[in-house]
């Protein structure tokens, strides 16, 4: 039971941090740059991608033994396109404001590399529950990343926070494509810096824990783990 929780935790951590679609894998850049002009739009886009990722991952995982390898890509595209079209219909009916603001980026989710990438690399090879967790957490990782970029661009570009005017200034550069690239680059650099530092700290802590006190007989398994960490 504990092992299973650890396994699912690792999938979730990979989706959120280790393989963060936006900051680590730099996937779905078109939507990231285009939709991050405001925090609300970014959050909406992130959640839409999460829903499509979850549904397509589950369906593709369910059908992984039925779909022949030779036609897997067209089959995945049909499944993803169906999910995106369903999402469009739901948003148009129930959240028309978000549907309007997403414009052409909503149908473009079909060709978002994150979704096809996770379908090909994960869902087509793993069981349903694993794929569902991967879909949710990869989507949430993307949502968090998009929202952070959106908050920064909206604050600097329009002086507002989630649509609420908080400052009386505007730096037009941040609402443009160049500003989007600039903020995106800074965010990637900070994310990599922070995760690298955290990783180093974690490894150092692990090495300290595995260091054997003088006079004690080291266990072989522990010794090999310590070597790996070094």
């Amino acid at each position: 039971m504990n092992g299973k929780i650890k396994h699912y935790g690792k999938i979730a951590y990979d989706g959120l941090i280790t393989n963060n679609a936006t900051f680590k894998l730099v996937l779905g850049t078109c939507a990231t740059l285009g939709m991050s002009t405001s925090a609300v739009n970014s959050f909406g886009m992130g959640l839409s991608v999460t829903v499509v990722l979850l549904l397509s991952n589950v369906i593709i995982s369910l059908l992984r033994k039925v779909i022949p390898n030779t036609v897997r890509i067209p089959a995945f595209v049909v499944i993803i396109a169906t999910m995106v079209t369903l999402l469009r219909m739901v948003l148009e009916k129930y959240i028309p404001d978000l549907y309007d603001s997403m414009g052409v980026f909503l149908p473009l989710i079909v060709v978002n590399c994150v979704i096809l990438g996770r379908a090909e690399a994960f869902a087509s090879k793993q069981p349903v529950l694993d794929s569902a967790i991967d879909g949710i957490f990869t989507g949430l990782g993307l949502t968090c990343a998009l929202t952070v970029i959106g908050i920064i661009r909206e604050f600097l570009g329009s002086g507002s926070f989630f649509g609420i005017q908080v400052m009386d200034f505007k730096i037009g550069f941040f609402t443009n494509s160049a500003g989007a690239f600039f903020v995106y680059g800074i965010c990637i650099a900070l994310f990599v810096l922070i995760t690298d530092q955290a990783d180093k700290a974690r490894r150092a802590k692990q090495a300290r824990l595995l260091r054997v006190p003088a006079g004690d007989q080291p266990l072989p398994a522990v010794e090999s783990s310590a070597e790996e960490v070094k």
Binding site: L63, V71, I79, T82, M89
Partner: protein
């Protein structure tokens, strides 16, 4: 290859699986399209609620094809709002990014009545975004951008039009930096509503 061999081949299996996936996806979309269909009446009610923030009674005015078509845009619909006596225009402006268009709702305020033939344009009360085709930067246009159209009553009543010119400054120049083509389409949509009101309702020349 015999027929029996074909039916046992990977090619047939691949084809069959793809066809089944496409058929199921098609059926699913058909069902959901039926369930989630947004009718024209619902769209109009939604738009009116978005524009006025409350329920209003609006009567559609029939226009001929000639009265709908202008140089930089088209008039999709015109409504006479009985609650306040103003005219609500749904217009589409051309000249957007990638030859796309932007559709807006524009409330034109006026004095007089159409029946008496003494309608006078007094300004624009509000401009509300409706939809677009092919515009990628619609998110850049906030409330303050649309509010500028409503703050120029004197010039609008004097017969002036809006513009989105990067090299120009002035009261009627309304542009978002970096999205000049979409700004042009938006200005064209507003100008189309003004042109229609001036020519069709006031009997002037566009």
């Amino acid at each position: 290859m015999t027929v029996k061999q074909f039916f046992k081949s990977t090619a047939f299996k691949s084809l069959a699986v793809l066809i089944v996936i496409v058929l199921v996806a098609g059926a699913l979309l058909a069902v959901f399209n039926d369930l989630l269909y947004v009718s024209d009446e619902e769209r109009l009610a939604r738009s009116l609620a978005k524009i006025y923030g409350t329920e209003v009674t609006a009567e559609e005015i029939e226009l001929s094809e000639e009265e709908r078509t202008y140089n930089n845009g088209t008039v999709d619909a015109v409504y006479y709002v009985q609650d306040d006596g103003n005219y609500l225009f749904q217009t589409t402006g051309k000249g957007g990014y990638s030859n796309g268009t932007v559709t807006l709702w524009t409330i034109i305020t006026c004095t007089g009545s159409r029946e008496e033939n003494d309608l006078m344009l007094t300004g624009i009360e509000k401009v509300v975004y409706d939809s677009n085709s092919g515009q990628t930067l619609m998110g850049n246009f906030g409330e303050s951008f649309y509010a500028l159209f409503a703050n120029q009553d004197e010039l609008v009543a004097g017969g002036k039009d809006f513009t989105a010119n990067e090299n120009m400054t002035g009261d009627l120049n309304n542009i978002v930096a970096g999205a000049s083509m979409t700004s042009t389409a938006i200005c064209n949509a507003v100008n189309t509503a003004l042109a229609c009101f001036r020519t069709v309702f006031m009997g002037g020349e566009a």
